[in-house]
C-alpha cells in the first residue's frame, strides 16, 4: 500500500521533535523540501541528523511536531505505509536473496509481480550498472556493488522520497568519489527527491541543492552550498565548514556589515556574518585565506610547516600563544617570524556569546 505518489509538491517537517528519555535528540526541526530537491543533512555525529532521517522514514516515532506530504499528515504512518525508499549505512541487503530479489522486494510487497515487475527491476539494475550481477547473492559483491544494489532497491518502487543514511561511509576514498557522482547522476535521471545524511562537508557541498546544518538536535542553517561555504551563519557552523581559525576578539568599530576587531594587539577588518551584540566576538578565517603579507596585522612565529605540493601549510603562534593555521606560497620554516593577514571579505566576525 503506497500512500503517496511521486507527484507531491512539498514535504514539510513542522517542529519535529524526538526525545530519548531526557535527551532531546531532535528539537523542533522545521524544514520545507520541494519536489526534486537534493537535500543534505550535515553535522557532526550525535547532531540528530540520523534521528531526523529515521523519523522521516517512520522507523522512529516522533515525540512532537508533525510531518506533511502536501496536505497529508504522514507522521503517524508506519514505515511500510509511507512508501519511501531508504538506503542504509550498512546497505541492509537481504543476505539470503539474490540481487534481483533484493531489488524486487519492494515491488513484491506492493503485490506487483510478473513481467512488469521484472522489467522495472531490470531497469533499476541497468541504471546502477549492475545488469550482469542480477543472480548473485549480496555476499558475492564488492562494497561498491552492494551500495548500488541498495540504491536500486530504494528507487525501483519510485518513491516520492529517497532517504540515504551516510551511504558512502563504508567505502574507501576512491570509491566514495565515484559513488558520489553516481548518486547525483541517478538522482537527476530518476527525478527523485533525496534526503541525504552525511557528516562529510565535501560530500554535502558537491551533492546537495541545499544543505541543512544541524547541531545538538537543532537546525543551525539551511542554504545553498555556496552560501554555506562563503557565509556560515554561526561560528559553530563556520567551524564545521572549514573556518579552522576561530579567534577570540573584541569589536572596536562597526559600520554596517564592516567590522574592525582587535585580537590581542592586532586589528583586523572583517564582515559581521551574524548580528553582533556587544564587544565580545569571534573572528573566523579559513587557513587558505590566512597568508603571509607585508601589511599583515597578526605577528606570529611559525611552529610547524609542511609542504603540500603546490604550497605550504603551517601553524604559527602569536605572542599571546594563540595558534594560527595558515597557507603560504613561499617556503616557511619553524622559528621564522611572519606577519599574517587576510582579505576583509574573507574574515567573518561572529558574536561570542553563550550561544
Amino acid at each position: 500500500m503506497v500512500s503517496a505518489s511521486r507527484d507531491f509538491r512539498r514535504l514539510r517537517l513542522d517542529r519535529v521533535s524526538r526525545d530519548f528519555g531526557t535527551l532531546n535528540a531532535l528539537q523542533e526541526v522545521t524544514l520545507d523540501v520541494g519536489r526534486g530537491e537534493f537535500i543534505a543533512l550535515l553535522g557532526p555525529s550525535g547532531c540528530g541528523k540520523s534521528t531526523a532521517l529515521n523519523c522521516l522514514a517512520g522507523l522512529l516515532p516522533l515525540t512532537g511536531g508533525s510531518i506533511w506530504l502536501d496536505d497529508k499528515q504522514i507522521d503517524h504512518l508506519k514505515p511500510e505505509a509511507r512508501g519511501f525508499g531508504m538506503v542504509f549505512q550498512n546497505y541492509a541487503l537481504f543476505p539470503h536473496m539474490s540481487v534481483e530479489r533484493n531489488v524486487g522486494f519492494g515491488l513484491r510487497m506492493q503485490g506487483r509481480r510478473g513481467a512488469e515487475a521484472a522489467r522495472l527491476v531490470a531497469e533499476a539494475l541497468a541504471l546502477v550498472r549492475l545488469g550482469d550481477q542480477a543472480g548473485k547473492l549480496p555476499g558475492q559483491l564488492s562494497g561498491g556493488q552492494q551500495q548500488r544494489v541498495a540504491i536500486a532497491r530504494a528507487i525501483v518502487i519510485e518513491p516520492p522520497l529517497v532517504l540515504m543514511d551516510e551511504p558512502l561511509s563504508n567505502l574507501d576514498a576512491k570509491l566514495r568519489l565515484e559513488m558520489r557522482a553516481e548518486i547525483r547522476r541517478i538522482h537527476d535521471l530518476v527525478g527523485s527527491t533525496t534526503i541525504y545524511v552525511t557528516h562529510d562537508q565535501d560530500e554535502a557541498l558537491s551533492l546537495a541543492d541545499r544543505i541543512v546544518v544541524m547541531r545538538d538536535g537543532r537546525v543551525r542553517q539551511v542554504g545553498r552550498p555556496e552560501e554555506l561555504y562563503a557565509r556560515p551563519a554561526h561560528a559553530d557552523v563556520a567551524a564545521f565548514m572549514g573556518f579552522r581559525n576561530q579567534l577570540a576578539a573584541r569589536v572596536v568599530a562597526a559600520g554596517g556589515a564592516e567590522v574592525t576587531a582587535r585580537i590581542g594587539a592586532a586589528e583586523l577588518h572583517g564582515i559581521a556574518a551574524e548580528a553582533l551584540d556587544g564587544e565580545a566576538a569571534i573572528v573566523a578565517i579559513r587557513p587558505d585565506d590566512l597568508t603571509p603579507r607585508a601589511d599583515g596585522p597578526l605577528a606570529a612565529r611559525v611552529t610547524a610547516a609542511e609542504y603540500r605540493g603546490r604550497d605550504f601549510y603551517g601553524i604559527a603562534a602569536t605572542a599571546e600563544g594563540t595558534e594560527l593555521y595558515f597557507r603560504s606560497d613561499i617556503r616557511v620554516a619553524p622559528g621564522e617570524t611572519l606577519r599574517l593577514g587576510a582579505d576583509a571579505a574573507r574574515v567573518l566576525v561572529y558574536p561570542r556569546g553563550p550561544a
Binding site: 522514514a57 505505509a81 512508501g83 550498512n90 541492509a92 510487497m109 563504508n170
Partner: protein, 289 residues
C-alpha cells in the same frame, strides 16, 4: 633437533602440543569407550555376534522403547522450538534481558532430578496446580499429571525450553535489525518481514537448535523414571539400557542398546541437517562483513 624442525615446518610447535593432554583424555574416555562399547555389543552373552541387536529388534518390550522415546522427544522438542520463536522475537529488543534469561536458566541449573521431585509435588493430585484448577472451577476432579506421559512431557518442556529459547534468542539476535527496517521501508508489514526476512535467516539456526534439543530430550532418563510410568508408556530407551547394565549386569546388551540409542539420534540429526541444504546458510548480516 631435526624432528622438532620437521614438526615446526608443518606448523606444530610447543604451543600446539598443549592440545595433546586434553585430546588424549577425550580419546581415552570418550572415543575409546564408544569403540569398546561397539565391540562389546557384538560379543553377546549367548548367540552369534548380532544376537543382541536381533534380540532388541524382536522383543517388543525392547524395540518399543524407540517409539515411546520418539513419541516424547519429537513433540516436546517441536513445542519448545515453536514457542521459543515468538518469545525470542519479543525478548531481543528488551533492555532488561538479563533478569529474564537468568530466571529461565534456573531449570537448567536445577537439573532434571530436582525438577522431577518438584513436579511430583506441584502437579500431584494434592498439588497447587490441581488446587488452583479446581479453585477456578476449571476441573471437578484433580487431573492426573504425574506417573504418566504428561508428567514426563511437562518436565521435558520445563527443562528443555530454557535451552531452546536461549539458543533461538542468540540466533534471532544475530539477525541484523537494519534488515527488518529496510524491509519495512520497502512496504513489508510485520508478517511479511517475519516470513520473508526473519524466518529464512533463522531456518539454519532452528535446524541446529532442533538437533541439539532433540538429542537431549531423546536421552530423557530421571524424569521418565520418577515422573512417568517407567514400566509402561514412558519406558524410554535409556531405561532399557540402564536395566540391562545395572540390573541384569549384561554390559554387552547394554552397550548394544546404547549404540542403538546413539544411532537413532544420529539418523534424526543427519536427516534434519541434511534438509538444511534447502535453506540459506550464510551470515545474517546486511552489509560488508
Amino acid at each position: 633437533m631435526p624432528l622438532r624442525l620437521a614438526l615446526s615446518r608443518r606448523g606444530i610447535d610447543g604451543v600446539t602440543l598443549l592440545v595433546l593432554p586434553a585430546a588424549l583424555f577425550v580419546v581415552a574416555l570418550f572415543v575409546y569407550p564408544f569403540l569398546y562399547g561397539l565391540v562389546l555389543s557384538l560379543q553377546p552373552k549367548a548367540g552369534g555376534w548380532l544376537a543382541n541387536y536381533a534380540k532388541f529388534f524382536s522383543d517388543p518390550f525392547l524395540y518399543g522403547t524407540i517409539g515411546k522415546t520418539l513419541w516424547l522427544a519429537v513433540p516436546a522438542t517441536l513445542l519448545n522450538i515453536l514457542l521459543s520463536i515468538p518469545v525470542a522475537m519479543r525478548v531481543r529488543r528488551m533492555h532488561r534481558q538479563r533478569l529474564l534469561t537468568a530466571i529461565l536458566v534456573l531449570p537448567i541449573t536445577l537439573g532434571t532430578v530436582l525438577i522431577a521431585e518438584g513436579l511430583l509435588l506441584y502437579l500431584g493430585p494434592q498439588g497447587w496446580l490441581n488446587r488452583a484448577l479446581m479453585g477456578f472451577g476449571l476441573v471437578s476432579h484433580p487431573i492426573r499429571l504425574v506417573h504418566n506421559y504428561w508428567g514426563v512431557f511437562i518436565s521435558l518442556f520445563i527443562s528443555g525450553f530454557p535451552f531452546t529459547f536461549l539458543l533461538t534468542l542468540s540466533y534471532v539476535s544475530g539477525i541484523d535489525p537494519s534488515l527488518e527496517r529496510a524491509a519495512s521501508t520497502l512496504g513489508a508489514d510485520t508478517r511479511s518481514r517475519f516470513r520473508h526476512i526473519v524466518l529464512p535467516l533463522l531456518a539454519q539456526g532452528l535446524a541446529i537448535n532442533f538437533c541439539l534439543s532433540f538429542v537431549q530430550t531423546f536421552s530423557v532418563f530421571p524424569s521418565a523414571v520418577l515422573l512417568g510410568a517407567p514400566a509402561g508408556v514412558t519406558r524410554v530407551i535409556s531405561i532399557a539400557a540402564y536395566t540391562a547394565a545395572f540390573e541384569q549386569y549384561d554390559y554387552s546388551m547394554a552397550s548394544a542398546i546404547a549404540m542403538i540409542m546413539g544411532f537413532s539420534q544420529l539418523i534424526i540429526v543427519a536427516a534434519v541437517l541434511g534438509a538444511r541444504v534447502l535453506v540459506y546458510r550464510g551470515p545474517a548480516g546486511g552489509g560488508k562483513g
